[in-house]
Symmetry: C2
């Protein structure tokens, strides 16, 4: 039960979020729109991502703080994949009948803690109700003009890198870390990048497809306790996948896993064998 209705809830969220407002935010929570003053030397990048009960999280395994954290982390991970710095976020939140004021407060605790870590202003959003909790994050980042890391620009001969080991077990998915720092560090030399959310095999296929190239994997770094299958076809690693000219030194912790080739477009192979195009798909369950 939400006490004091929608006006009371908006007011409480506004007070909680007021702690930090970025210099470019001209108007934030409470108006029809947030107002942002752009900088002409930068391109802006925008992403939106759902986080839905029983699809992306479960109320019995995820605390309200976990859910708030993850809602924002999904958006920031996309910002990282573009090599951008976060600027602001909007959050649409549809609450289920079982949600109470305490749940909402704890949700925003998790959300705002991560927002402050990355200087991301919560500048607006929408509130609604439905049967199962649904969050939709909107995140905006900024990158020097023309320097956004796209996924359609990998080149034959590039090395393929990941920012960490893959196949993370369920528990560590609760508070995924957006790899903003890696995105900023590789922006100068990476030729293409994306974040890993649906499994290495499927996501690298997408990158290759977009770039019109193929990829050959030499090895797959697997987190302790997981299998290569989980690393290839499991989802939600939130590590960065990027390509760069051979010989360039990537940041500490990143691992070289293969190279880009001129085989059949979109094909990803490991040890000479083509991998199936398989991973997390919302419409093949």
């Amino acid at each position: 039960m939400i006490e004091r209705g929608e006006l009371g809830l908006v007011d409480r969220i506004r007070k909680r979020a007021a702690g930090w407002t970025g210099p470019q935010i001209v108007a934030g929570i409470g108006d029809d729109c947030a107002v942002f003053r752009p900088n002409a030397r930068e391109d802006l990048v925008f992403t939106t991502d759902f986080l839905i009960e029983d699809v992306h999280f479960r109320r019995d395994t995820h605390s309200p703080e976990d859910i708030g954290h993850k809602a924002l982390a999904r958006g920031l991970s996309d910002i990282a994949a573009m090599g951008a710095e976060p600027r602001f976020a909007l959050l649409s939140l549809a609450l289920a009948p079982w949600v109470d004021d305490l749940w909402v407060d704890r949700f925003y605790t998790g959300f705002l803690r991560l927002a402050r870590r990355w200087k991301t202003t919560l500048a607006g959003g929408d509130l609604s109700h439905t049967d199962k909790v649904a969050c939709d994050i909107v995140a905006c980042g900024a990158v020097p003009r023309g320097q956004a890391l796209r996924r359609d620009s990998a080149r034959v001969g590039d090395a393929v890198w990941v920012s960490g080991a893959l196949g993370k077990p369920w528990r560590t998915h609760l508070r995924p870390k957006p790899r903003i720092d890696v995105g900023l560090a590789v922006r100068g030399f990476a030729t293409a990048a994306m974040d890993l959310t649906d499994g290495l095999a499927l996501d690298l296929h997408r990158l290759c497809q977009a770039s019109g190239v193929s990829a050959e994997l030499d090895r797959v770094p697997v987190v302790r306790g997981s299998t290569q299958q989980q690393a290839l076809y499991g989802g939600e690693d939130y590590e960065l996948l990027f390509t760069a000219p051979e010989g360039v030194a990537a940041p500490r912790g990143c691992r070289r896993i293969g190279s880009i080739g001129d085989g059949p477009v979109g094909q990803v192979s490991l040890g000479g064998a083509a991998l199936p195009v398989r991973g997390y798909d919302h419409f093949r369950l």
Copy 2:
């Protein structure tokens, strides 16, 4: 049933949306983020709005085209309320088990028709699944620096205006018209503005609360066949509510309905009697 999975669906949406891309969109559908190149003379405004099955629409009364239209119209109505021109939109869409490919195609027909009418590029989004269809629109508009119409700047002595008659019956809510043209026309002289979605009494209360003023209504223009009660407390009119100095001529079709006063902050009265703070509230059902 969605054939060909998520990759096929994204590909189909990209092809449908490719007809028109605004000059400032550097990268659109298919990457981690959309990339937008801002203009230093303009502020950018951002809004996000849910449209959820059995909350904002019903499958037995709304065609897929109606739902696609309405998803975008809700976002554009907020852009209108800031006096801004639409630039681009992102759409998050969570599909229910009953949705098939034809439904999705018809949904995008309704969405893209309105997008083209207002030169709004569909630049990205997210796809997911859930029990009931949920859309979340993200809309971005641009306005000359410092000229965004806010709701916290109405002044004592201003006249109160609406862009049309209120209390629209259910059927005409199917394809609400965002009042972009009215927003652009009043930008030069309006002191405050917002769009009417939760009923005049509640929305004008919010504007007065934000501006630290009260309002006295002289009359309430009601659409033929509706009652004053529906006009005051019904939702989803999608007309603009704005304030302006007395004596300024508003655009054709707009009606003067009252004036701003220095009574109790947030109070809205009609014929001398204070109206209850009541209207559409997601958490008081």
